[in-house]
Structure formats: structure tokens, C-alpha cells
């Protein structure tokens, strides 16, 4: 789960990381009031969960409350990479002397949390990694030991930070590590971490991604979820325990298992179609779950055909077939369906679906080709055996 900048920075502040004075607003007049209260030039920042907000025009400097109101009026409601801006963060503008990067990520290959720092802050860190990999310094953290002060100081020294900032940098690094661990994050970033003209350090921007698997022990953080940032279909999928990702194609896919679901999308593409979604219904495939999945898939108006690919495993295919039919009763549709069931009692399962005028297939390749044809209107919905 991604957090907004203002949410991440509030968490950082709780762990002793200095952040700019600022408040969140949803209307230009609120922005004006905040700017008035702060009594200084402000930066108005769109709160949407996409990167590159500045370049897209979602971050503006305003010197006066009047200017702040006008600029907020332009930002609020704007479309930023597909998201409508509903909220802005109004921060006191800072006197930026130097921009640094500080972040924590999970290093899968090492199976450890690593802290990264760079003197090349303020730009996309992936860009730095690609063009100047030596400019990023890392330390590997042992889970039982946590981040040690020598590691933080080592990073500060390695990126050439002037010595007078070591202590402040170490405190920020420690705060970021504590926030990361206590919140069960999988990413926490301060970019940029700025050195101001007066010599103090400040976290100007903040990014946090939390581990969805750990949210069960953080109900307070779960409450920070912004449903506006999730497609309604994705919200419904999450509530129903389904894994769904919307794509741009025309063939809806309902599959059991994440790997097989990806392979199903790929084979649809291989045969000239385009997948409309990733959807893993998990084990079982009971009627209610299939119905929920079908509703989600059909809520996408681009869907011209639906491909069911169920590898029965231990589940019996006749049960899966009955589940699909029960789901179709709950979610009536004219969109053609192609089903491929494999596993125990698969012939029986196929027969049940064929009787209900569903197109069936034996192999995944056959099913994908039939789904592509169906989406083009080239396959009649009569029984195909």
C-alpha cells in the first residue's frame, strides 16, 4: 500500500525526522489561509500516488497568499497521469543549499534491508542508479542488530557530506529505519533530503510503501488507504480476496494461480489479442467468488470476451463448472465466454459448461485462440466440443 507524501512525512516526523511546516488542503481558499498562517512563501504539492509530479505541473511555488490561492486553483482538480488531484500539501518553502537522497529498500538477492544514500538527490534515484551507479552508497542491515550508528556515519562520509552534518544525518537515518521497521514498510525514501542555507537538514519529500501482508498488525496505517487512488474494480477485488490488475486489452481473464494468470495473459497476446486484466481467483473457485470476479471483469467496458482458465489441481472440475454457471446466473451477460478446465472430472466439467452453451477448450493454446476469435466476433457462442 502506497502512502501519500503528507502521510509519509507525518510518520517521519513521529520518528524525529525534521519536515517542513505545512498542512493539507482540499480547496484554494484553505490553501490561502494556510499560506497566510505560515506567513512565508509556500510550495503547493499535488497529493497523488504517482511519481514525477513536479514535471507534470503538480508542484508550484507561491510567494503570497493570493498567489497560493491562484496556483492551488490550477492544481486542484487537474488530471495528473490519470489521477484527479483532490488534495494538496501546502509546505513552507525552504532555502535549499544541497539535495541528498536517503532511502531504505528490501534487497531481495541479499534477503536484507539496505539503506542507500546519495549526494545526487532531488532526481529519480533509478536514473542515478542507471547513469551514475557509483554515486549511490549502500549499507546492508542485519535484522537482529538494526541500523548501527557507524553504518549511518559511514554512508554520510561515503557520499561526501560535510562533517558538521554527520550527527543530524545519523539521527534522520535512524528515524527512517525505525519508521520503516515499525510500520512494516517495503520502501521508505526521503528525496530530497536537503541541507538548508542555515545548515539544518530537512526531509522535503517523503515516500513510503507498506507491506500489504503486514497490514493486519497495523490497523491505524490501513486507515490511511486512499480509496480515491484505487480503481473501484480494484477495491472490490481486494474486499473479495481476489488479486486483480486492470489492463488495456479486450479479453477478460479469470485464472486460478498468479503464475498461470500471467501466463494466460501472455498467451492471449501471443495469439494476437490483448488481456483486459490480471485476475487470480485462488483455490476452490466457489460460485460467490467466481461471481464477484466476473462482475469485476465485466465492469470494464473494453471487455469483449472472457477466458476462464482453471487448473483444477485438487478441486474437482465439475464443481468449478457448477460454480461458473451459478455465477453466470448472478451476473447475466452477453459477452462470449471461453472456458478451459483441467483436472479431476474435467470431461464432466466441460460437458456441464457446453450444455449451458459455453465454448470450451482442452488446452490453454486452444482456449486463448478461441477467446481471441470470440472477442472479434468470429466465434459463435454455440456449443463447441
Amino acid at each position: 500500500m502506497k502512502l501519500h507524501e503528507y502521510q509519509a512525512k507525518r510518520i517521519f516526523a513521529q520518528y524525529g525526522i525534521p519536515i517542513p511546516r505545512g498542512e493539507v488542503a482540499t480547496s484554494p481558499t484553505q490553501v490561502r489561509d494556510i499560506a497566510q498562517r505560515l506567513g512565508k512563501p509556500v510550495v503547493i504539492k499535488a497529493q497523488v500516488l504517482v511519481g514525477g509530479r513536479g514535471k507534470a505541473g503538480g508542484i508550484k511555488l507561491a510567494r503570497t497568499p493570493d498567489e497560493a490561492e491562484a496556483k492551488a486553483d490550477a492544481i486542484l482538480g487537474m488530471n495528473l497521469k490519470g489521477f484527479t488531484v483532490k488534495r494538496v500539501l501546502v509546505d513552507e518553502a525552504s532555502d535549499i543549499h544541497q539535495e541528498l537522497y536517503l532511502g531504505l529498500v528490501i534487497d531481495r538477492a541479499r534477503a536484507r534491508v539496505v539503506m542507500m544514500a546519495s549526494a545526487e538527490g532531488g532526481v529519480d534515484i533509478e536514473e542515478v542508479a542507471a547513469t551514475k551507479p557509483d554515486a549511490i552508497k549502500t549499507v546492508v542491515i542485519e535484522p537482529a542488530l538494526g541500523l548501527r550508528s557507524y553504518q549511518a556515519i559511514g554512508l554520510a562520509s561515503a557520499i561526501g557530506l560535510p562533517q558538521e552534518h554527520f550527527r543530524a544525518f545519523q539521527q534522520i537515518a535512524q528515524g527512517l529505519y525505525d519508521a520503516f521497521i515499525r510500520c512494516d514498510a517495503e520502501l521508505a525514501e526521503i528525496n530530497p533530503l536537503v541541507i538548508q542555507g542555515d545548515g539544518t537538514l530537512l526531509a522535503l519529500d517523503g515516500k513510503m510503501v507498506l507491506d500489504d501482508n503486514a497490514l493486519f498488525r497495523h490497523p491505524d496505517l490501513e486507515e490511511m488507504r486512499d480509496l480515491d487512488e484505487e480503481a473501484p474494480a480494484e477495491t472490490e477485488a481486494r474486499i473479495n480476496g481476489l488479486s486483480y490488475v486492470k489492463l488495456d486489452g479486450e479479453i477478460g481473464c479469470m485464472v486460478n494461480g498468479a503464475g498461470l494468470a500471467m501466463a494466460t495473459m501472455d498467451i492471449v497476446k501471443h495469439y494476437g489479442g490483448a488481456p483486459a486484466n490480471f485476475l487470480d481467483i485462488g483455490g476452490g473457485a466457489r460460485a460467490e467468488k467466481v461471481a464477484a470476479a466476473l462482475r469485476i471483469i465485466l465492469s470494464d467496458p473494453n471487455v469483449k470476451a472472457v477466458l476462464f482458465n482453471i487448473f483444477g489441481g485438487i478441486t474437482r472440475c465439475d464443481e468449478v463448472a457448477r460454480g461458473i454457471l451459478a455465477a453466470l446466473e448472478q451476473v447475466p451477460t452477453k459477452v462470449p465466454m471461453v472456458a478451459r478446465l483441467v483436472g479431476t472430472n474435467e470431461e464432466e466439467g466441460r460437458a456441464i459448461l457446453a450444455e449451458a452453451h459455453m465454448t470450451t477448450a482442452r488446452t490453454l493454446a486452444e482456449a486463448a485462440q478461441k477467446a481471441v476469435a470470440a472477442a472479434r466476433g468470429l466465434l459463435s457462442v454455440e456449443v463447441v466440443r
Binding site: 501482508n213 501466463a263 497476446k269
Partner: protein, 288 residues
């Protein structure tokens, strides 16, 4: 011969008294796996499916000399279950549980690195040596004893490949599902090393997916150490960046972990990559 599990596997089931654990334990017994113990704290002394239940893995190990464990406990208890089995000295642990927090797995991995125990998973279908032992949740009947070793990050996608091979009359030495999480106990390179040493394995299928760089590391390992033919499949060529595709580990982040990169790395070391799952069996048949 085979790897990891065989006729000598003496299995303890952690979470045997739960719904999942009991269902799959019955399936494993039916397949012919020797289950010697179950562990559920507070239920020691009972018997379920004819298997004695113990309160701790250490007690189960002392009484039954179990040498492998399979874990079916919920995600919030699974890290402890893994550590308990490892500390009891169980040689092989297979963790089926999905949804373990990643920081918990980092702590578990760090502890396991100091012990001789091997962990498979979590978030995996388990390990099967056809005709000998099934330690997992895969449908046993689709497998057939033979000479192809399979290692995969996926579940049902693996069944798909296995079923296609068996249908062509090509059996499997051992099939290992290493799991779809970002932090797992054994990775491709670990299992490739075992298959390379196993005289019963004549060819290897590697089934990867987007996220991380384990496939790239596997490619480098194959170039240096694997002399047996290897065939691969990578799922997620149409996956968009930044979106998690079901598995916690299946995500392209910062432009890294794409299917294209993995396919390129494997093809560069002479590993043919199937265009779709159905092609895996054909590619293997050409190389046996």
C-alpha cells in the same frame, strides 16, 4: 534418486489439526508419503488421521525422528513455525503459507543462514518426487516418475507444465515449487545445484516470473555450473510495471525484474525459453 524428498522422508505436519493441514495430510498419506507426526501446540497426545500429535516440533523429532516438516499454519504464526522446526534440527522445511510479512521472512532467513536446515517456500506448492513422496499441495496424479527436474516460482503454472510432460510420457525426477514471495528459503540457483548433482535428473525445467533477479542469477549459474539441458518459461511478459501480479514477489519495480530481461539473460546462456506453457514439454522432448 531424486532431490529433497523420497521414500526415506519422515514428515512432520505443522498445523495438522487445522482444516487445510488435515485435508492435505490425508492427500499426502494417500499418495504414499510417510507422515510420522503432527504438531499443534495444546493438542499434544491426540491422534489425527492415525498420526500422533505433539505440542512442539522438538518433541515430535525426539519421538519420531522426523527429517522433514511441512507448514500449514496461518501467516502470522508461520515465521515461528519455521524457526521452531529449524531449531529442532529438522533438515528440510516446506512452508506452504502465503502472506507472511516480508520483514518477518528477513529475520527468519538471517537465522536460518546459521543452521544446516533447508527451507523451501514460503508461498509455494511444495516438493514432490513422483512415486515416492509428496510434501505439498500439488495434485499427485498428474505426476509421473522420470528424469526431468522442475523448479518453479509458481503453483498452477507448474501443474500445467507437469501435466503436459506426463501426457507426452515424460516423467519427472522431482518437482520443486520455491514460492512466489520476494524472500524465500531456496532460490533457483540452490535447486539447480541439487538437480545438477542428482544422477536421476537428465534435464531441467525452470519456470520463472517477473520480479527480482533470481532468473538472471540462475542464468549466470547455469553458464558456470550446469551441464544438463535446461529449458525455461517466464510468466508476465504482458505485466505492467509497478503492479503486483498476485504473488508478493511478482512486481516490476524501477524498471527491474521484467520478463524481457530474464528471457534475454537465459537465452544468452543457451537456455531456450518457451513462448507459452504448452511449448515447455516440446522443448524438453527435443533435448532428452
Amino acid at each position: 534418486m531424486s532431490i529433497l524428498v523420497d521414500k526415506n522422508t519422515r514428515l512432520v505436519v505443522q498445523g495438522l489439526t487445522g482444516r487445510e493441514g488435515m485435508f492435505h495430510a490425508a492427500q499426502m498419506i494417500e499418495y504414499g508419503t510417510t507422515i510420522v507426526a503432527g504438531v499443534t501446540p495444546g493438542k499434544g497426545g491426540q491422534e489425527v488421521l492415525g498420526v500422533p500429535i505433539f505440542n512442539t516440533v522438538a518433541e515430535a523429532r525426539a519421538a519420531t525422528d522426523c527429517n522433514a516438516s511441512i507448514i500449514y499454519v496461518p501467516a502470522r504464526f508461520a515465521p515461528d513455525a519455521i524457526l521452531e522446526a529449524a531449531d529442532a534440527g529438522v533438515e528440510l522445511i516446506v512452508c506452504i503459507t502465503e502472506g507472511i510479512p516480508v520483514l518477518d521472512m528477513i529475520a527468519v532467513r538471517a537465522h536460518l543462514e546459521r543452521l544446516p536446515t533447508r527451507l523451501i517456500g514460503p508461498n509455494c506448492p511444495g516438493v514432490i518426487t513422483p512415486g515416492e513422496a509428496k510434501v505439498g499441495i500439488m495434485p499427485g496424479r498428474i505426476h509421473k516418475p522420470g528424469a526431468v527436474g522442475i523448479v518453479s516460482r509458481s503453483g498452477t503454472l507448474t501443474y500445467e507444465a507437469v501435466a503436459a510432460l506426463s501426457e507426452m510420457g515424460i516423467g519427472q525426477s522431482t518437482v520443486v515449487g520455491i514460492g512466489g514471495d520476494p524472500i524465500i528459503g531456496s532460490r533457483f540457483v540452490d535447486i539447480l545445484a541439487l538437480f545438477q548433482q542428482d544422477p536421476a535428473t537428465k534435464a531441467i525445467v525452470l519456470i520463472g516470473e517477473i520480479g527480482g533477479n533470481d532468473e538472471e542469477l540462475a542464468a549466470a549459474y547455469i553458464r558456470e555450473h550446469v551441464t544438463k539441458p535446461v529449458v525455461a518459461f517466464i510468466a508476465g511478459q504482458t505485466a505492467p510495471p509497478g503492479k503486483r501480479m498476485g504473488h508478493a514477489g511478482a512486481i516490476i519495480s524501477g524498471g527491474k525484474g521484467t520478463a524481457a530481461d530474464k528471457i534475454k539473460a537465459l537465452e544468452a546462456v543457451g537456455v531456450p525459453v518457451a513462448h507459452h506453457p504448452g511449448e515447455i514439454a516440446e522443448l524438453i522432448a527435443q533435448r532428452l
